[in-house]
């Protein structure tokens, strides 16, 4: 009876397991016992972004400017910076990690339950990328040849002269300025320059405007040439005397063409390798005493200090541009080499802007630029629908499989169905309890698909065993020994068949993309767990419940008595 006793112990263990996984999977069953219910209800399946809504972002890091030996450190600090940023935003349990594929390094950011996807994206993008650039050689390629410029300017001057004649002859100055002037600042006001003191314009212009011989309301009868082009100047009125003379004037500008237009008037700047990654600290500073003209004082680390010294040494008399997120914010001229590793950014900041910039810089300037290469975002309502639908599909699938098994295998089918229920409970329990292990499983929509599919596969082992058992019964074995034989003989097929599923699922996990991974992980897990439930659980249940009583009720396991007899007769 030792065998029987062992069987009893196993049976009891399985009942305990069934109750435990049942309660973990469906805590509502004990909703009348609040302490137990509350404790169990705390266990939750970790749902993926596609089921609860959220955003999955993959950024590729541009490491071309970074020494390959330092790539790991650079990626780590990118991750740290983004983590700080996201934490400040207050997203519950953000997942941030770096991956590599080949030579590419990627940063993955997963934010669950984020309502405003664009806001979240901006938050990450907002991270400042600070870069110092030095003046490069002007780009000659875009320049217009001097002869062509001269020709153009001759034409422009000619039209300016024609215009001068027109206004001197009495055409409305303001109307003409509106139509012809190329000074964007005054054009729309009819060329009006408002009141101005001497010295506010370029000398050539000043001289004419403040010419005491030019009377109020008079137009200067000649064109005035400045660096900007050719001006037609009108003095509207004059007030004050001596040093306090103020003139209200107007002008029509015919702009001169020059190569400054072609290059946007900016000298070109080239990267120096000095970026936010070399920054030690940033503080708000004030240019003058009191709280006016705030500026940002930067302090570099050792490497940055050396680089900065070199850059400033090379750029004495030239400008060094400070770029933030690819936009120039200030370009001070360098007077002398700076060796103490300190720099000041003054960019017409308000106090608030300066404070923000300092905060952002200290939170961490990104050591390398990153760009978004992949995004999957799901609105939470859509996630909710997906969850409901896939769970419904799972329940329907499981119900139909159980009906099929019971119709076809009768008593054996009932056993298989119980084993299947324990299987489902066990899987849900594993999903829930995995949160307490380092191998936390996140259930995604494909994961549920894999789980539902595994329900169909889980009973396959039972089918193989039962078919074999029936075969053995038809051969004339007693039911108990036929069951034993069925389990024993079907095992190799079960093992081989499931091994192939595991091989392909492992390859899928290796592929590593979101969809595939979620599906393959639940499939592998499902195959392993189902082998346990279909073999061990159903075997114990069967052996415990089946006795000699079933010998003359063979219809219960779907074997016709006649088929057994016939076989016997044939022998």
């Amino acid at each position: 009876m030792i065998v029987r006793k062992k069987l009893l112990i196993r049976f009891v263990l399985i009942i305990i397991l069934a109750i435990a996984v049942g309660l973990i999977s469906y805590p509502k069953a004990v909703s009348k016992i609040p302490p137990v219910y509350n404790a169990l209800n705390k266990l939750k399946v970790n749902l993926g972004l596609d089921l609860q809504g959220g955003i999955h972002l993959e950024y590729k890091a541009d490491l071309s400017q970074v020494d390959s030996a330092k790539a790991d450190t650079a990626m780590q600090s990118v991750q740290d910076v983004i983590e700080r940023r996201v934490n400040a935003f207050g997203v519950a349990e953000p997942v941030i990690y770096t991956t590599r594929s080949g030579t590419d390094r990627k940063l993955v950011v997963e934010l669950a339950g984020v309502k405003d996807i664009n806001e979240a994206k901006n938050l990450i993008k907002e991270t400042p990328f600070l870069e110092f650039k030095k003046e490069g050689e002007p780009d000659k390629s875009k320049e217009i040849p001097q002869e062509l410029l001269d020709q153009l300017n001759v034409q422009i001057k000619a039209s300016a002269e024609a215009e001068l004649k027109k206004v001197l002859a009495g055409a409305d100055f303001a109307e003409e300025a509106k139509a012809k002037s190329e000074d964007p600042g005054s054009k729309d006001n009819g060329g009006d320059l408002d009141w101005a003191k001497k010295g506010m314009f370029v000398p050539e212009f000043d001289k004419v405007l403040f010419d005491p011989n030019l009377k109020d309301g008079e137009i200067y009868p000649q064109l005035v040439e400045t660096d900007f082009g050719w001006h037609i100047i009108k003095k509207i009125e004059q007030r004050g005397s001596r040093d306090n003379v103020e003139v209200h004037g107007a002008h029509i500008l015919f702009a001169k063409k020059s190569n400054a237009d072609a290059t946007g008037g900016q000298p070109t700047f080239v990267s120096t390798g000095l970026t936010g990654k070399n920054l030690k600290s940033a503080i708000v500073d004030f240019k003058s005493q009191g709280l006016s003209e705030p500026q940002v004082a930067l302090k570099f680390d050792a490497e940055g200090t050396a680089l900065f010294a070199q850059i400033t040494k090379e750029s004495v008399g030239k400008r060094v541009a400070i770029y933030l997120d690819g936009e120039i914010i200030s370009a001070p001229r360098v007077n002398e080499e700076i060796v103490n590793g300190e720099a000041v950014v003054s960019g017409n900041f308000t106090i608030e802007e300066a404070n923000n910039l300092v905060k952002r810089l200290n939170e961490g300037a990104l050591p390398v630029p990153i760009s978004l290469v992949s995004q999957q975002s799901v609105e939470s309502s859509l996630g909710q629908i997906s969850l409901e639908k896939s769970l419904k599909a799972g329940l329907i699938g499981m119900g139909l499989v159980m009906i099929f098994m019971i119709l076809y295998y009768r008593f054996l089918g009932v056993i298989a169905s119980i084993a299947l229920l324990i299987y489902a409970g066990l899987m849900i329990s594993i999903f829930k309890l995995s949160a307490f292990t380092p191998w936390s499983i996140t259930l995604t929509l494909p994961g549920i698909a894999g789980f539902v599919l595994s329900i169909g596969m889980a009973v396959d082992a039972n089918i193989l065993i039962f078919e074999r058992t029936k075969e053995e019964i038809r051969k004339g074995r007693s039911i108990l020994s036929a069951i034993d034989e069925g389990f024993k003989r079907a095992w190799t097929s079960i093992r081989d068949g499931n091994a192939s599923s595991i091989i392909t699922a492992l390859i899928l996990i290796e592929m590593g993309t979101g969809f595939v991974k979620g599906f393959a992980v639940t499939l592998v897990l499902g195959v392993l767990v189902s082998v346990f439930t279909a073999v061990n659980v159903s075997k114990t249940l069967l052996k415990f419940l089946v006795g000699d009583w079933i010998q003359d009720k063979l219809w219960l396991i779907g074997v016709k008595k006649t088929s057994v007899d016939n076989l016997d007769n044939n022998k």
Binding site: D50, E58, K60, D104, I117, N118, K121, S371, L372, V373, S374, Q375, Q376, S377, V378, E379, L382, S386, K389, S390, A393, G394, I396, G397, L400, F404, M405, L445, P446, A449, V452, L453, I455, G456, M457, V459, D460, I463, L464, E467, T492, S493, D496, G497, N498, A499, S500, S501, I503, T504, A505, I507, L508, E510, M511, G512, T513, F515, V516, F519
Partner: protein
């Protein structure tokens, strides 16, 4: 007992026709790749009030210069917008425009894949399929290493793999057809489905092979190899069909009730598992017999 092995030529003819058709549709139409493999953006925009006409939306987005844009209306008051985009700024612009023009709209989901990622996915997918086929072939050959007479063990592996290649070729062909006529796209989920089909179809084949192995070890010398194979097939017929049946039941549940996002995925699995069952009964074992006959002839 049904004489399955004796009807091999019909099964071969049927399978060859289907395989040729599949290869032809793959050749002429090709698969319609989704953004996973081409790069680009897929956006589902839902409207709380009236869903605007596709043309109207297209007109509103026209000046953003979206390349190969396609719009598709869905059942749940939403429009699927697809376009080839190279950078995220484009997506931001589209979202901004849509919110301006349609304040009652919201982005249910936005999937964006940069072409650098899609190229990698394409490469990985191909690698995965070949790795899976190789892995299964090695595994089957290993599992049947003790059977060497009258047909060597590697031929079991080859038989299983030919049957598998047949299953996934037909599935791919079916999706080339569906892509051409129904616009169904294939992406990473399709690859996952193919690999699952590989893993599952070989399951049935192994059951039959396993029985053949067992019967070979016990058979009397009178019984010829083709007869043993046929007997093994008959003995395992019910379980082959039933094991596939339960899987097909769950797949049908996913197909009909699981929602649109995984419908195409379950369809691929249904086709593959269906043909997988057929091929493990009618093709894989028949190939063993064909190999055996070739061996005899060459002697």
């Amino acid at each position: 007992m049904i004489n399955i092995v004796g009807r091999t030529k019909y099964a071969y003819a049927f399978s060859i026709v289907l395989t040729v058709l599949s290869v032809a549709s793959l050749f002429f139409w090709g698969l319609k790749f989704g953004i996973d493999f081409t790069g680009g953006t897929l956006m589902e925009v839902q409207f709380s009030q009236n869903v605007p006409m596709n043309q109207e939306v297209e007109e509103n987005l026209k000046d953003l210069g979206l390349k190969s844009m396609a719009l598709q209306t869905t059942a749940n008051k939403s429009i699927l917008i697809r376009y080839a985009s190279e950078e995220d700024a484009t997506n931001q612009a589209v979202v901004k425009r849509l919110t301006e023009k349609y304040p009652d709209s919201k982005q249910l989901r936005v999937d964006y894949i940069n072409s650098s990622v899609s190229t990698e996915l394409r490469k990985n997918s191909l690698l995965a399929i070949f790795a899976a086929i190789a892995g299964i072939m090695v595994y089957v050959a290993w599992a049947f290493r003790r059977v060497s007479r009258p047909v060597e063990s590697w031929k079991y592996g080859a038989g299983a793999v030919i049957a598998l290649a047949h299953d996934i070729l037909i599935t791919i062909g079916a999706f080339a057809f569906l892509g051409h006529f129904k616009g169904i796209e294939v992406g990473v989920p399709f690859i996952a489905a193919l690999l699952t089909i590989l893993g599952f179809s070989v399951h049935d084949t192994i059951v039959v092979f396993d029985r053949t192995r067992e019967n070979l070890l016990r058979s009397s010398s009178k019984e010829q190899f083709p007869e043993i194979v046929n007997r093994s097939l008959n003995e395992t017929l019910v379980r082959s069909i039933n094991t596939s049946m339960t899987v097909i039941i769950t797949l049908l549940a996913i197909y009909f009730y699981g929602g649109e996002s995984i419908r195409d995925f379950s369809l691929a699995l249904l086709i593959g598992v269906g043909f997988g069952t057929y091929s493990s009964i009618f093709i894989a074992s028949a190939l063993l017999v064909t190999f055996y006959k070739m061996q005899i002839k060459s002697k």
